[in-house]
């Protein structure tokens, strides 16, 4: 009996700390375990007993990369529980700040973390030697996203302007218009980015995923929609727990999500795109087509192209929303707490981020549950790893490790704290 155990103690170029254990017996991959830590579990306990007014500021600190996903999901749940109706212009501003989050998060991953895999560099610093303009373009796009978040959120990291009912302060039309030229330039850079990443050599690999994403009546979903899957799920966000469940696995502190009675599912750019391709503007659909991406993409390595397309769409949306903006009559609607349960769900850069809160009469949080995208994708990552490694069992450990790391980075996992070295342990009988 031949047994190989391939360990990656620290995954590089992901947001946070992760590890991989791969077991191969007699030429078959028997286990692929992604070990990760998820901060939201701690925050759920921390939230109990706190006021709904503190909720946006607390959850913003769950993640420095996608604070809006956590803030807006929580705020939506408050508004759902307390039956608050927000001004349409407030909704538009929320979509706009979220565009900023998509742009900065996707630009960071596409250019600085993921592109080196396809071009054969250990990191973006080495890649910048030969691809200086591409790296500069990535930084400029990230900066454009940050500028949106900074103006609307008050600061780049852990925005402070969002609150239940709206914003503490809304921008003037003139303040927003200052960003219009930068967003138009970003749109041009994003088109160049799509063309650049679509030229990468992609491994030939496909899997038959169950895609799960929000779906909205008109828009490509960011801040609102029903939860829809490629296998027929079509539910209001409050019914999430009827269709999905979480379980503890021994090798990870993160709970793993699955579709009840079926198993792993995929959230994030590929799922959003597959379910909402028809919600993208014609110009983006045509560019996707010319980039070799049809209406549905099942090759996870090509997710980098879809992320670039989403950056382009977010830039387009930012230009549109800024042009259409009219300052609302009041920055926030009044909020009256009551004993109730509320739900929130938005499309974080990495996929749907689902929230459920139970409030007491005075607005104190009695229970909180947050399901972040990375834990929803964990089963899918592991299935990908098994399938990818199965094609490489005859290769050296290093080749398997490299492709497996690349496979994990397809998901842009958002974990806890960065680590930058790899240790590989191979056990051979």
């Amino acid at each position: 009996m031949t047994t190989r155990t391939i360990k990656v103690d620290y995954l590089a170029r992901v947001e946070g700390e992760g590890a991989l254990d791969l077991h191969i017996e007699n030429g078959e991959v028997t286990a692929a375990n992604l070990r990760i830590f998820e901060p939201p579990r701690f925050f759920e306990a921390f939230l109990r007993g706190r006021s709904y007014t503190e909720l946006p500021d607390i959850v913003a600190r769950i993640c420095g990369i996608c604070p809006i996903a956590y803030q807006l999901g929580a705020i939506q749940a408050v508004e759902d529980a307390f039956e608050v109706t927000v001004d349409p212009q407030v909704s538009a501003l929320r979509r706009l700040i979220y565009c900023g989050e998509w742009i900065q998060s996707h630009a960071l991953h596409v250019v600085m973390l993921h592109a080196p895999d396809f071009l054969g560099y250990p990191d973006a610093i080495q890649m910048a030697e030969q691809h200086r303009e591409a790296v500069r373009r990535g930084l400029a796009l990230k900066q454009a996203g940050n500028a949106l978040m900074c103006l609307l959120g008050g600061r780049e990291i852990h925005p402070v302007s969002l609150r239940a009912g709206g914003f503490h302060r809304v921008p003037t039309k003139r303040e927003l218009e200052v960003l219009c030229d930068e967003m138009k330039q970003a749109r041009d850079l994003a088109k160049e980015l799509v063309i650049w990443v679509s030229s990468f050599p992609f491994p030939a690999f496909e899997r038959d995923y169950e895609f799960v994403a929000l779906r909205h009546d008109q828009d490509y979903p960011i801040t609102a929609g029903r939860i829809v899957s490629s296998e027929g799920i079509d539910i209001a966000i409050g019914d999430y727990e009827h269709e999905f469940e979480e379980r503890q696995v021994p090798h990870s502190t993160a709970l793993q999500s699955s579709v009840k009675r079926r198993g792993a599912y995929l959230v994030g750019p590929m799922a959003r795109y597959a379910i909402n391709h028809d919600r993208l503007p014609q110009s983006v659909q045509e560019l996707a087509d010319s980039a070799g991406i049809g209406p549905i993409c099942r090759n996870p390595f090509q997710s980098i192209v879809i992320r670039a397309l989403e950056i382009l769409h977010a830039c387009d949306e930012a230009v549109r929303l800024i042009a259409a903006y009219e300052e609302p009559s009041r920055p926030f609607a009044p909020v009256e707490p009551r004993a109730a349960v509320g739900f929130g769900c938005t499309e974080a850069p990495r996929g749907i981020c689902w929230h459920r809160y139970e409030f007491a009469e005075d607005g104190t949080i009695r229970n909180a549950r947050i399901v972040p995208p990375t834990s929803q994708n964990q089963s899918s990552v592991e299935a990908d790893l098994k399938a990818v490694a199965a094609l490489l069992v005859d290769k050296a450990d290093n080749a398997i490790r490299t492709r497996c790391e690349m496979t994990i980075r397809n998901y842009d996992p958002c974990i806890s704290c960065a680590a930058h070295f790899l240790k590989l342990t191979v056990h051979r009988p």
């Binding site: 600085m112 973006a124 200086r132 900066q143 852990h158 704290c417 960065a418 930058h420």
Partner: protein
């Protein structure tokens, strides 16, 4: 020198996470005391959004917290001219790009100031909502004095000081 700001003093940290607030505390102490040609900025650690701003400066002093290694409050000085930052300084970054990597990337892209000096204050407790630990709080004043002296030397053009 690039007038009016030839020197950037960059305080890196998170005021909500215990000893990660050390550099911001140093910045508060330095506020109003730095040479005229100096810009003082506080950063949350998202360096990639500000790399291109670095090229406006001839010199940069970065202040950051370092990962615990048994000596809370220990102040270390690193001159990038002598070599890259130890990777332990990147361990606190919540992003995939820490300070050392960001400096290396800035150099590669032509954004790096000619002189970069990093001051690191070793932390002990980085828990959310916690104050500075005793050892780190005690290091704020000596670190501020050392950085003020360094800023004056760099502003006067004594690049080898």
């Amino acid at each position: 020198m690039n007038a009016p700001h030839s020197l950037l003093v960059l305080a890196i940290g998170n005021p909500d996470r215990g000893d990660d607030a050390a550099a911001w505390e140093v910045a508060t102490t330095l506020d109003g005391l730095l040479p005229e040609s100096t810009a003082l900025l506080r950063s949350s650690g998202d360096f990639l959004s500000m790399l291109d701003q670095w090229q406006q400066f001839d010199a940069m002093i970065c202040i950051d917290a370092a990962a615990p290694q048994g000596n809370p409050g220990k102040i270390s000085r690193f001159d990038i001219a002598a070599g890259p930052l130890p990777t332990s300084l990147d361990a606190l970054s919540s992003h995939a790009f820490g300070l050392g990597q960001s400096i290396a990337l800035a150099k590669r892209l032509g954004f790096a100031p000619a002189r970069i000096v990093v001051y690191a204050i070793e932390g002990e407790n980085f828990a959310v909502g916690e104050p500075l630990s005793q050892g780190v709080a005690a290091a704020v004043m000596p670190a501020s004095k050392a950085i003020l002296s360094e800023a004056k030397r760099l502003s006067e053009g004594k690049l080898d000081a």
